[in-house]
Point group: C3
Chain length 344, copies 3
Amino acid sequence: MKVKVHQIADLIKAEVEGNPDEMITHPDKIETAGRGAITFFSNPKYEKYLYSTQAAAVLIDANYQLSKPVPATLLRVENVYLALSELFSFFDQNKPKPAEISNQASIHAGATLGKDAFVGAFTVIEADVSIGDHAQIGSQVYIGAGVHIGDHVRIHPGVKIYHGCQIGDHVVLHANAVIGSDGFGFAQDDKGQYTKIPQIGHVEIGDYVEIGANTVIDRASMGKTILHQGVKLDNLIQIGHNVVIGSNTVIAAQTGISGSTHIGENNQIGGQVGTAGHISIGSNLKIGGGTGIISDIKDGGNYFGTPAMPLKNFMRSYAIFRQLPAMDKDLHQLKKTVAENKKR
Amino acid sequence: MKVKVHQIADLIKAEVEGNPDEMITHPDKIETAGRGAITFFSNPKYEKYLYSTQAAAVLIDANYQLSKPVPATLLRVENVYLALSELFSFFDQNKPKPAEISNQASIHAGATLGKDAFVGAFTVIEADVSIGDHAQIGSQVYIGAGVHIGDHVRIHPGVKIYHGCQIGDHVVLHANAVIGSDGFGFAQDDKGQYTKIPQIGHVEIGDYVEIGANTVIDRASMGKTILHQGVKLDNLIQIGHNVVIGSNTVIAAQTGISGSTHIGENNQIGGQVGTAGHISIGSNLKIGGGTGIISDIKDGGNYFGTPAMPLKNFMRSYAIFRQLPAMDKDLHQLKKTVAENKKR
Amino acid sequence: MKVKVHQIADLIKAEVEGNPDEMITHPDKIETAGRGAITFFSNPKYEKYLYSTQAAAVLIDANYQLSKPVPATLLRVENVYLALSELFSFFDQNKPKPAEISNQASIHAGATLGKDAFVGAFTVIEADVSIGDHAQIGSQVYIGAGVHIGDHVRIHPGVKIYHGCQIGDHVVLHANAVIGSDGFGFAQDDKGQYTKIPQIGHVEIGDYVEIGANTVIDRASMGKTILHQGVKLDNLIQIGHNVVIGSNTVIAAQTGISGSTHIGENNQIGGQVGTAGHISIGSNLKIGGGTGIISDIKDGGNYFGTPAMPLKNFMRSYAIFRQLPAMDKDLHQLKKTVAENKKR
């Protein structure tokens, strides 16, 4: 693929500083980009590469102040990552597949498929399923009875959706994710044995949600487990029964949200975070990776540690934790000194 | 579905306080239950809803002392969660499928299927497999050679069972769980390279075990990895090779048990717990979420932290961890004071 | 299977101490081994069993000094685990399947299969895929367009490989692992909404890599996510986009490596470890289970804790953390004493 800098500038609405006729062949990372590459600069950690890059062109923030000349042509944009998203779409080989229903899929006569849908081989679609227009259902997917799937949804191979779940428009589900498995609910009798509590609710997933590979969203015991519009979940995440997650909250890999916990909007939650059940977590929070949340958290702020505390406080305490042996020695020395002083 | 309160009372063996002819249409949570709903009260956190609920009926503990009148009809029961289990079974739409062997499954001629079994589309059953009566094997399941599966087992779509594993009666396996994958065993040579140690054992799963979605149980290097009767595992759990878990131990999501560790009976183990390998963990324990267990633990008690310590002790130490910067300042001030006292 | 001790000694190049004509029927663990069993001794924790075992033969280090006589015949070897690997291969029932392409697989006309390959039922192989000689592709596997798979690769049921990924020779992929799913990359607009950044890179997996069940390796945003030769990953691991892992690094279950982090060679990384993104982790490290790494680590050393610190230092600090309530009491008492001394 060959394209001139000014053509890309038009596409991503950038202002060009340098040669608009420079030829671009592919995107690459700033630390490795060579001739013909277009790259981007955003994380200050990579600043040294900006001034030495062999790339033909660099996406950069409209207001970024250079400290010396950059050899490449610059493309100044309002939001580097949004521009990158458009740029990568342009170069993406992974286009949606043409509409086609595999004759090796098993589709119940009572299911409804939207127009221009794609359904891959060895996929099972049960009774009373409805699938929207332009949906792309990969191979080896299972869609249980009564599931509704919106328009422009993309489901990658091996995803399993249990009966009755509701999936909005423009949702992406990655390979081997499981939606609507039973919540972890058992009743213990007086002999200590557990009886399963049937999980009779379901899962509701809003528009523009993306769910990572091998992530699991449990159905509600009754009512709904809800992911609101624009939620983005990474891989290998666990969402317990009756959890509610507010719009535009993003969660990194391997985090687990216990049953009946409610999470607000616009949160950035790190990887391997765990929460207790039946708690309420606010909005506009940043939760560091590995944090363990055992009680309610109000809106705003950065949290870290287990049990969670404000990040700054945690780091101050941890700095002293590292010095505890010295502190302990100090205290013992001081006790001795005080005892001696007393004797005098 | 429409049913009168006294019919439900008969079903779950409850005593009615209020109108036995009240009409019930569906179960709902106490915080959202409206007209026609039957709900339950158990967690004291939700007490305020008890006295204001619009629900038609509420399941409640036989001995619970009301502090004011409840608008709904009460159903007094010995064990709220056991009653709930029966109630939800009554309302559950997700009944077992009628006996049927899909003609789109691949079943080896040397496999044996019990009576009234269901096998879904695109499932593979290898040689010398035996499957019990009333078993429900979902779509896209893989059952390796020589596997035995008991009666009344329910296997959800996408589960993979490696050769030779033994599954008891009334077991439930959720979607995309993997049973019998190779344990993580390698021998390092003097150049630092690893050679795989073939894992020649298998997995044995007792009756009434339930295993969550995307959970993995590794086969033994030799001998057996064993889950005893009534063990309940949540989603995304890792069980290493040669692990043994005692009866009625329940483990929440994303916990990992390292190889050759033995765990006793009747434990409640939280989510994201990790254990070292080759250790022994007792019975009747409560292990808090995120705990890291690096050495043996005796029977009984509550544990938390990494490395694990008794919960109460951890919380006391952590309360002071939060105050470490103040403590450090105190100590410095005290050193100064003592030095000054000495000079006088 | 019946074999004499001297035949096994020839196979694994062992020196026999005892009866070379002793009959062996199966391998077993030292704590349970009975008549006819061959077992091994390596972990000193199990020493008591060595002197009382009923086994017919025991693999043991060439230089191990016995403290009393052992009832079994000894097989002295240079490296117990390498010898065990050969021994188990000898007893392993799980041989590769004979070459065969299932007529229930869906294989694109534009895909190329090597000689003596096995492809199981309900597997999908897309256009421009090339698969090496003697490859074993299990059932219900998905291989996306343009994927290359080397010789002697073994892919277990349910594995999903997205388009364009490159898999070396002698690689093992366990059930339901996902290779090449999209990295977690989104651009946030000024309303707080996220737009997906297309992930246009891929995954490159070196020779002799083994990847556990339900593990996920994300494709690069651009360029490659790389696992170098001999990397061994356990189950349920998350590898983010653009991560690079050096040769012969082994990682235990449920660990997560965030995007763009580079890890060196010959590391032993425990389970449930988490790392920040965009950091550099050296070689020849031992990282304890549950460690959280938030900044660069140089070559060599043992680490533990979150944030990570040298293991020895962590354990010293944690020993005092356990005593913090007593220390706090001491400090208060001392303050009182000092205040009283001052008054005098």
